[in-house]
Symmetry: C2
Subunit: 655 residues, 2 copies
């Protein structure tokens, strides 16, 4: 039994009834909307309340009325960590009185009593006002006095802006409702929102011999020159010997075969050890230091699984499943067997110790300076475990990034993003047509998913050589690179396979022939056909254009050719339009429908567009303008539009 | 820190995170869906749990997998009251083992150990099985034994249906998740779902003089003959004298003017008194009794407001707002004044006493045999009050119906329905075109609103004489009657104004000229042009066709004329199609697109349709069939289709 008059419902954003936070980076806004209304005809007011979770008191932002009982307000999160928001509404008797008095005055019904009612409201406000007490008391007295004779003057005072502004400072919130939930914002570091990843196998930087981190230092300048932010390393730990895989995933390793880095652990150590063949912990530390000096974060792979030789198997047999024949259960998904890999048994009665140990691994590497983790197959470990691990980690240090490598069904992928993963792998690799790309990225950027799911687009991975790249030639690589780098502000490639246009696949499969997962490769980084220069150019365009540093500002625009995709991003007065051919074989031309309204371009006026990729400068007029995209030269354009911009707020509220 | 492997989310239905119940009547199903999944590749199972809120233990219904990690199950609510449901999911190691073993067997990988693993699972199940313990122990032993020699036989036993069925009875639910919320179903009496309402002013059944309930008894057979279920009476209490309204809402009553029944209370009594002019309490009781004998419920008006003469004003001045001049605040919405009506001040510090008194009014009339309440302007009293009042009442007796007369903005109307109102007035009165009707009823019947909002369609009310009826002549009345009675299973008319085609309005307004709200009317019920016969016919069609006794089974179908609307309802093997002209002036013909697939009509086969309204029988073939609708004869058809029906479940799951 609570006598509340205000209803607050339909709050957006609110993920799964507030169970999960929305995601932001510092400087970003959280735009909140809600249905807020009272019974009857009284005027109401509403405020958005927010605070950093460590603060004790709320900061309040007045909400503004939109339409259909919907209210909106926004706040900006300043730094990484957890922010909290909620809403309040209250009945505003002063505004109700003011509105009614105006109508009565206009219909010659206003009388002494009407003024006196308002005087009492103002007097009550004076009681709440500290420094303004005198002013309000004075005004209340004046209303009272004028009510006895000069109704016109009294109404003038009653409706005056200064009384209104003063009263706004001391609202009567006695009839008020606080929304029943406090909602969360997980604020990550800026890198969470804008990052270019480069994956390499350190063992391949030995020029054919087993590479070491010392040798890998030589590539750091090249990776930095290409403009990447993060260099991601597959597991760097000792690799198991028992059941080690040979070339092309052969069940028998030949002597000298290095095995899969994901078969972690040997008598030399486990998840907290660096493979001695890579130079051990010291060389690794040196590599991380050098990388950071070059502006690169090093991302490690969290693959929570063991080789049969991992020390855990002997030290903690209770963390594994044992078969009736006394052997430990290896990974299998019948009929497939992964005999070099042993999963943890998350159903073990010792799960608390297991969880603690795995958390210890994360903290261990954080102490070594690692802040970015790419998590291998998180969908094969309990969701509850990840939620706990990530929130525990973030409590210690909110500047950590966890990338979810879950190539699985949509619901588990979204569940992982909701529960805390900073970024997520996507289906991008298998979305090639205009409809597929438009549908998928509309789903990710223009629905509730945009609040918690940060797509990280990989053009290739050691596991995936998409058909499109196998058969599309150089143009296919360029197209997929441009799409990855501009559709999302987070993207990655597995190199040098990517920039060296590696397209040899296992027959009929989307997997690399002679995959680097099972052997040491020798790459010729200096090859003249390398895409390294183009990659550097595209990453420079991303750095110079704030519009490309966000993902949810993506909008698709019309164009009359199904083999050409046309989309854009706006940020402040930075406007980028991308036209990309999806056909790696033939020249395609298209009439693009430029969003002149959003861009604030007046009807009939000419405007300059600058193709940042090709260097051309063009003068366009009106909505429809034509491009020709040639796979032999450059199958895509990244235009920067030079035009007066509308303010973002003009058109993004009702999205 | 909870080691759960199953995620349950996206539960439907779940109104506002479970804050509000969904609505049903006895015998109806609650179809529940949810996303349920685990990490990894393990098989899972899920159950829908439900119980009457008074029961201590859950009943479980196994859920079935649909697609995309979505599961579904349903249960039927048996009787009025509150039901509760929730969900459970668990990892099913037996099914996982069975699935994996099958694949291994098919690829010649199955060995002794694989069988032994299953034997252990079966043995563990034996531990949980009471009577079946012996069977399961035996089977486990047999598996174990066969594993040593005859793998083929062991696999045969492992995959056998009898083992599967037996194991299903004793699931291992050690790795299980219960959904974190318990959701509610408010089960109302059948009348809540299927009712025809007839509103009359009892004071007008005196043949021109002030009518009494004794006189009104004579009309009961007529109302029953028309097929109505509920006779709804505007307030029957003493009417205030001070500021009493005269004819046509004149601020000055002439001597003998009876005043508005909504100006409740005089020295003769208030909300618990029957106006002596109507014959007082005894005559009222007699009327209710006679009505019930004729199969009619009497609905009373809950208008929680007072005339200035109401005894409450003196006895409980603290329940009202007082102005600085010592007068009590009457109702106003400037510039409009309602000086004959005084609202309660729900902000009074004595609100608990006020709420208790208002609840007392409801209980008072329930004791007099009243079970149906039409609530006047509920949106002008706090939502929290109604939620409390309705839930308190339903606790005492779940067979009460509250109809919300809230003609206001969409959000407050929906809020009232969510918080507990059994039925709701709608915007039907102002939805006349095909697009308006289709959009509005799709919103009400094919979205989440269908779970909590029961539309009650009024063709007219004492407050509203729609323009369409003012100018459309007899055909307009017929069209609106057919639409009201078939679009929703709950509808009403204000009579005899409706059946006597009363269409005189205040100039430029949608209000009755010489409104019965302010004067006693003399109606000639025997007029030959009365629609009473047609109303009786339509109500009979409703009673004879279960499809018309539901609302959410409404589906709109195509037809090639924008002046003709075509829709249908299915229930079991009862199939009704309605084609109604929306043009009261001209003949309209249309090709109707009959939903032959839903109706289970085979391609090319003829089928019989029976026009229940006009009596015609027609033979149709295929999808497209033509009707002609003539406003001078009958501008609508209600077809019953005679064809083999598909089971409802075949096509309503994905709606």
């Amino acid at each position: 039994m609570e006598n509340k008059r205000i209803v607050i419902s339909g709050v957006y954003p609110e993920i799964d009834c507030g169970l999960f936070p929305v995601k932001r980076v510092p400087g970003e806004k959280v735009k909140v909307q809600a249905d807020i209304f009272a019974d009857g005809h009284d005027e109401i007011m509403a405020a958005l309340l927010y605070r950093n979770h460590a603060e004790n008191s709320w900061r309040a932002v007045p909400m503004r009325y939109i339409a259909n009982d919907r209210w909106a307000a926004e706040f900006t999160v300043e730094h990484a960590g957890i922010f909290i928001y909620t809403l309040e509404g209250w009945v505003d008797h002063f505004s109700t009185w003011r509105k009614d008095l105006r109508k009565k005055w206009e219909t010659a019904q206003a009388g002494q009593t009407d003024i006196q009612i308002g005087a009492a409201i103002v007097k009550a406000a004076a009681g709440r006002a500290g420094d303004d007490n005198k002013n309000l008391s004075l005004l209340a007295g004046k209303l009272e006095e004028l009510s006895k004779g000069d109704i016109a003057a009294a109404v003038g005072l009653a409706l005056s802006p200064e009384l209104f502004e003063l009263m706004k400072l001391y609202p009567d919130r006695s009839i008020f409702t606080r929304y029943e939930k406090e909602l969360k914002v997980a604020v990550d570091i800026p890198l969470a929102n804008f990052s270019a990843w480069y994956e390499i196998f350190p063992r391949s930087c030995g020029g054919g011999a087993h590479g070491t981190f010392a040798g890998c230092e030589a590539i750091i300048p090249e990776i930095a020159r290409m403009g990447f932010d993060i260099v991601y390393l597959p597991p760097v730990h000792p690799i198991g010997i028992k059941a080690r895989k040979g070339k092309n995933n052969s069940p028998q390793a030949a002597p000298g075969d290095p095995g899969s880095p994901w078969a972690i652990g040997s008598p030399e150590g486990g998840h907290k050890t660096v493979n001695p063949a890579l130079g051990g912990m010291e060389a690794f530390g040196q590599f991380v230091k050098k990388a950071r000096q070059a502006g690169l974060e090093v991302a490690m792979d969290l693959a929570f699984q063991c080789s049969p030789d991992h020390p855990y198997v002997k030290e903690h047999p209770e963390w594994f499943k044992w078969r009736p024949d006394g052997t430990v259960q290896f990974a299998e998904n019948p009929p497939k067997k992964y005999e070099d890999i042993i999963p943890f048994d998350f159903e073990t009665p010792s799960w608390k110790e297991l969880w603690a140990e795995l958390k210890g691994i994360v903290l261990f590497w954080m102490e070594k300076g690692i802040r970015v983790f790419r998590v291998d197959n998180p969908h094969t470990k309990p969701f509850a475990f990840w939620q706990w691990l990530i929130s525990e980690t973030m409590k210690i240090s909110p500047d950590v990034i966890f990338l979810s490598e879950a190539f699985t069904r949509p619901k588990p992928m979204h569940a992982l993003a909701k529960l805390g993963f900073t970024q997520s792998y996507t289906y991008f690799t298998w979305r090639n047509s205009k409809t597929e790309l438009t549908d998928y990225f509309t789903e990710l950027t223009a629905t509730e998913a945009s609040e918690y799911f940060r797509p990280n687009l990989w053009a290739n991975t050691p596991d995936i050589l998409p058909e499109y790249l196998q058969f599309g030639g150089r143009a296919a690589f360029v197209i997929r690179l441009v799409l990855a780098a501009t559709l999302s502000s987070n993207y990655g490639i597995y190199g040098p396979a990517f920039e060296l246009l590696e397209n040899s696949a296992l027959p009929g499969r989307e997997e690399y022939l002679d995959s680097e997962k099972y052997e040491i490769k020798k790459w010729d980084r200096g090859r003249p056909d390398s895409l390294a220069g183009l990659i550097a150019h595209i990453n420079r365009i991303r750095r110079e254009n704030p519009a490309l540093q966000k993902t949810n500002n993506l909008r698709f625009y019309g164009c009359d050719n199904d083999s050409v995709i046309f989309y854009g991003k706006l940020a402040g007065d930075n406007a980028i339009l991308v036209a990309a051919s999806l056909d790696p074989f033939r020249v395609q031309s298209a009439a693009l429908r430029v969003p002149v309204y959003e861009l604030g371009i007046e009807r009939g006026r000419q405007y300059l567009v600058h193709d940042l990729l090709g260097g051309d400068k063009l003068i366009w007029t009106g909505e429809f303008n034509t491009v020709e995209l040639d796979p032999r030269t450059m199958p895509a354009r990244i235009f920067r539009v030079h035009a007066r911009m509308r303010r973002e707020a003009d058109f993004d509220y009702f999205m």
